[in-house]
Symmetry: C2
Subunit: 346 residues, 2 copies
Amino acid sequence: MVTIKDVARRAAVSPSTVSRVIAGSNRISLQTKLRVQQAMEELNYVPNAIARSLARSHTRTIGFTVARQADEAFANPFFSEVMRGMSTVAQALDYNILLSINPSAEEEREKCMRLIKERRVDGLIVSTSRMKDRLIDALAEEQIPFVLIGRSAEKPVLSVNNDNVQAARTATAHLFEQGYERVLFLGGDRRLVVTQDRLAGYKQACYEWQRAYDESHALEAEFSIEGGYRALLEAKERGIAFDAVLAADDLLALGALKYAETSHYRVPEQLGVVGFNDSPLLSFVRPPMTSVRILAYELGIEAMELLIDTLENPAKAGMKKEILLPSELIVRASSVRSGGENTAGR
Amino acid sequence: MVTIKDVARRAAVSPSTVSRVIAGSNRISLQTKLRVQQAMEELNYVPNAIARSLARSHTRTIGFTVARQADEAFANPFFSEVMRGMSTVAQALDYNILLSINPSAEEEREKCMRLIKERRVDGLIVSTSRMKDRLIDALAEEQIPFVLIGRSAEKPVLSVNNDNVQAARTATAHLFEQGYERVLFLGGDRRLVVTQDRLAGYKQACYEWQRAYDESHALEAEFSIEGGYRALLEAKERGIAFDAVLAADDLLALGALKYAETSHYRVPEQLGVVGFNDSPLLSFVRPPMTSVRILAYELGIEAMELLIDTLENPAKAGMKKEILLPSELIVRASSVRSGGENTAGR
DNA sequence: CTGTTAGCGCCTTCAA
DNA sequence: TTGAAGGCGCTAACAG
């Protein structure tokens, strides 16, 4: 291995001089700088990042952690896109990404703390947030630099989120506009902030359109196609009437489609369906599915930029910026009634 | 920050003694060991991984690199699953994963070399392999520990792959069995080994079923739904007749479905379609699509295990093991003809 | 502008 | 079984 000493020897200078040209210091004569650079090239020298990290006590690497139950759709393209976004800015700003996929929230929490205490990463980007989130508590308490993709329901933290309330409100309103009377909210885990926010938007639309809302209209489903399917079956068995579904994820919406199919309801005539995330294949599903398009790539970009910015400008660390990204309702056949331009209400 | 010295002081021993209990040395009295452990707990001490890495000259982190053109489907759930697999064994064996998504093959290559020369990672897992792959050349030449997810067309290297030849052969045979006469191969970039392997399997089946094959039957498409669609349109314009398509990826297969739709061919009656990767939503596409299921998660597992094994047992580094995982054809409606149990041939 | 010195936090001989 | 000393490769005062 070629070290800074080898370069120093070859350029006939001291190691610190070499260190200076690496750092791009200007307190150096052009002449020796050139000599050192030549030596570095001839020796094919690349500074050891580990030694650097130890000396400077930071690593230029960011940890990204996800908690995914094995079966749950980590396949969700959402995460791939977020990662691509993060990667783009990391690359540009010369940072690295340490990835940790964890089987449970507990293990994620432990992993996060460990990455920080081991000093492997300078900061963290974490994703799913619960209403009462122990990970966020711990991170905040220990003053660890991190940004949340999502929103914190409690203390203010750095976060990047899409406007779930607004998006759910728009999507629900769209269904009402199409003439659907009884829209059900089909959400995932109630403890997740994202579920609550989408539910809030749904309720808001109900209120604005003066539709009755009670607890029975908000279903909680296991996060899968099957889960969505079963939740609707149960709802029906419990005698809940509905002619449309706002699902908090495409998987659940697909479950609704399956429900319609097995129960012989026609979509969109007898059942309107709207999903969340706009998975790429949705236009091939029959009928093509309406869904809220989330700016996942941009979410990744913003999160990484925000984190690195606070890392490099500790002054800003105080202000808990919360970035909100817009989303867009992509209307397809699953929620458009032939004669449904019923713009009653409001 | 609490260091090994703090622990030493509190336990009234020397730092080297603390170091020994961290390493789990047995040349230590139970008594002092306990005392040290207690001190570590009381101080909430976690060894600094960077300092450790420097002293031991390895990092216990593995680099995983992908080259993805921005638009191309990194969204492909394949990678998420591979990552999940890698993560599972990394977690279990106490390794970390450094993720690098690169815009191009060149940048991927540079990033790989850099990660290694900077000593940020102990080894690499790389994914896409080309027929004449400069990345693999470079890695092999510099004796860098790495495993390839895929197959190297040239020099033998450690690799984990699914049996593409066999899978394509089976899928093609399935189409012939269903009575299709003219099956087209719809592949992605010709320079990719995976494309060549799937094409080889396709040819093999053609040969076994005594069907004519010439170059015009193997289409090269841009890797997207649109790309698959256009490739088939062009084929038709060039006067190539076909009644079935074996696509080397689900996206391309979806393009075939789109082609059928716009050209008013009925699937599967007039056009049979088979894809690769069995993306989760495929059963909701209309008609449900036949596809080859790849063991992506297992691919990730095997790759990580193989790499760590060679890292920790340098003796094995010589033998270039190649692991081959089976895949499975998931038959759905897009390739099953009503009266198509035509088991002619062979 | 450049070299010397002293760490960063941990590991690893070598003695005792 | 334990401690002292030196080193991993680089950075950062402090002199000069």
